[in-house]
């Protein structure tokens, strides 16, 4: 691994100036992705790391029906927040399903939304064909072991999965990332934050080098809204999703008044599903409606022999969590 200079940032402005002024400088927060990819895998090779963990970007504050989460709040801190337990229960479920307690104590919310793919071909520099690491070099995963890879937003250029659990309910909720650049601040909804890989899988989101995510704003669900997150995986715990689904439903008199739906484990980016929401919206809670929503959720998948099972599994995952969330109202 390449030697690097370590600097602890004293304030946000100087941290942003240090990173944005130098393409070889990167941020360091919880480190569960960054240190792994630098020290262990040798995929990232910055010459300088700017440690931002002591910056005042940690608090979680509620302002009416919006929760403002500092980017350096940890997964464990967000999971323990009273407003999350009360008004965003599926966010709490996704956080607790997302990693071990040790990792949740380290990993930050800003880092979670910016986590890199777990694709083992991306993470192994001995593999030469990776369009995400080396644009134009090809994709070893499409002819490799594809079980843990994406079927939506994928192509022969890249099938790397976005493996965050947290981001699944966050895109369903229309959460917004607040971003500090060298000159200005801006806000980007998470549904517009991620970039589909296309033929440039190295471009993963709209951030310019040096822009710093400072906070995530999460709209709280209206009181009475039901939500759930279901994660299907090869082990009972501490494993990445094969498929997952996050749903939030407002049900009034047996009719679905509002629906928010997103899928995990299947997309190259966290996958909001407006097609399923459209089926559910205004429909009665009925088995055929839930199935129709699931059928609408997956279209034009890019499947390989190793990932074809995910089409049906994702639909069943969505049906199951819809059944759970609507339990007793059909």
């Amino acid at each position: 691994m390449q030697a690097f200079e370590y600097i602890r940032a004293s304030d946000v402005a100087s941290a942003v100036a240090l990173v944005s002024g130098d393409p070889k400088t990167q941020y360091l927060a919880g480190g569960t992705t960054q240190i792994d990819l630098m020290l262990k895998d040798g995929v990232l090779e910055p010459e300088r790391l700017v440690d931002i963990t002591r910056l005042p970007l940690r608090g979680i504050t509620r302002d009416g029906d919006v929760l403002r989460v500092g980017a350096l709040a940890t997964m464990e801190e967000l999971a323990a927040d009273a407003a999350v337990a009360e008004r965003l229960p599926f966010v709490r479920e996704a956080l607790l399903a997302g990693a071990s307690t040790q990792l949740r104590n380290m990993a930050t919310i800003g880092g979670n939304i910016l986590q890199r793919t777990r694709c083992r071909y991306f993470r192994d520099p001995a593999v030469s064909a990776c369009n995400k690491r080396a644009p134009g070099s090809g994709c070893a995963a499409v002819s490799g072991a594809a079980r843990m890879h994406a079927i939506l937003g994928a192509s022969e250029h890249c099938i790397a999965l976005h493996a965050s659990d947290l981001c699944v309910p966050l895109v369903a909720l229309d959460a917004v990332a607040h971003i500090q650049g060298p000159g200005a601040q801006r806000s980007v909804p998470l549904t517009e934050f991620y970039v589909l890989p296309g033929d440039r899988p190295d471009v993963e989101n709209v951030l310019q080098h040096g822009e710093l995510v400072t906070a995530i704003e999460i709209p709280l669900l209206p009181a009475g809204t039901r939500s759930g997150y279901l994660k299907v995986r090869d082990r009972a715990s501490y494993e990445f999703a094969l498929t997952s689904a996050a749903v939030a439903l407002a049900i009034d008199g047996g009719v679905i008044a509002q629906a928010r739906v997103a899928l995990g484990g299947v997309g190259t980016i966290p996958w909001r599903v407006p097609e399923a929401e459209a089926v559910l919206h205004g429909a009665p809670v009925a088995a055929q409606v839930l199935q129709a929503a699931a059928d609408a959720a997956i279209h034009d998948p890019f499947t390989l022999p190793g990932t074809a099972f995910k089409v049906e599994l994702a639909k069943r995952t969505l049906v199951r969590v819809l059944e759970t969330v609507t339990g007793g109202s059909a």
Binding site: M1, Q2, A3, F4, E5, Y6, R8, K24, L28, G31, T32, I35, D36, L39, K40, D41, E47, R48, L49, D51, T53, E76, A99, S100, T101, Q102, L103, N105, M106, A236, S237, Y238
Partner: protein, 162 residues
């Protein structure tokens, strides 16, 4: 003194507080907390298993919270309070969780045991030992390749007194 390609120093001066005693260190920025503990401070109770955040053998407490020392840069712990298996019991005896692991034979080869015990101590402090199911879920970041899980759960259940 080592330098980056651009001539910047790659060494970091910082204070590591481990098990109640503070030490001033000057280390290469790449040194993880795990390697600093084992190779510089000779605290070899903390184990290096996978060394990439998947097994939990390197679990220590930083400011009272369980973390993975293999994915933590030592320099990031400047001024923080680190507790390792060697510091669990201040009086030279055994911590109640250590005693429970012995009583229930909560190990076989023993390599994962320091991490299991550090994780279990934190789990008890978090109030997450209310049932066997809860213990299993919140200990899932600690892998035991010998498969001593039933006895590990029994030891934690015993130590929790639920």
């Amino acid at each position: 003194m080592s330098e980056t390609a651009r001539g910047a120093s790659t060494e970091v001066d910082f204070t590591l507080r481990v098990n109640g005693s503070a030490q001033r260190l000057r280390l290469d920025s790449r040194v993880t907390l795990l390697d600093a503990l084992r190779d510089r401070l000779e605290l070899t109770g903390t184990k290096k298993g996978c060394d990439q955040g998947a097994c939990g053998a390197c679990t220590v407490l930083v400011d009272g919270k369980r973390v993975l020392s293999c994915l933590t840069l030592a320099a990031q712990c400047d001024g923080r309070e680190v507790t390792t298996i060697e510091g669990l019991s201040g009086d030279g005896g055994l911590h109640p969780v250590q005693e429970a692991f012995i009583r229930h034979d909560g190990f076989q080869c023993g390599y994962c045991t320091p991490g299991q015990i550090m994780s279990a101590v934190a789990l008890l402090a978090e109030g997450r030992a209310g049932s066997d199911e809860e213990i299993r879920e919140f200990m899932s970041g600690n892998i035991c390749r010998c498969g001593a899980y039933p006895n590990i759960v029994a030891a934690i259940r015993d130590a929790s007194g639920y």
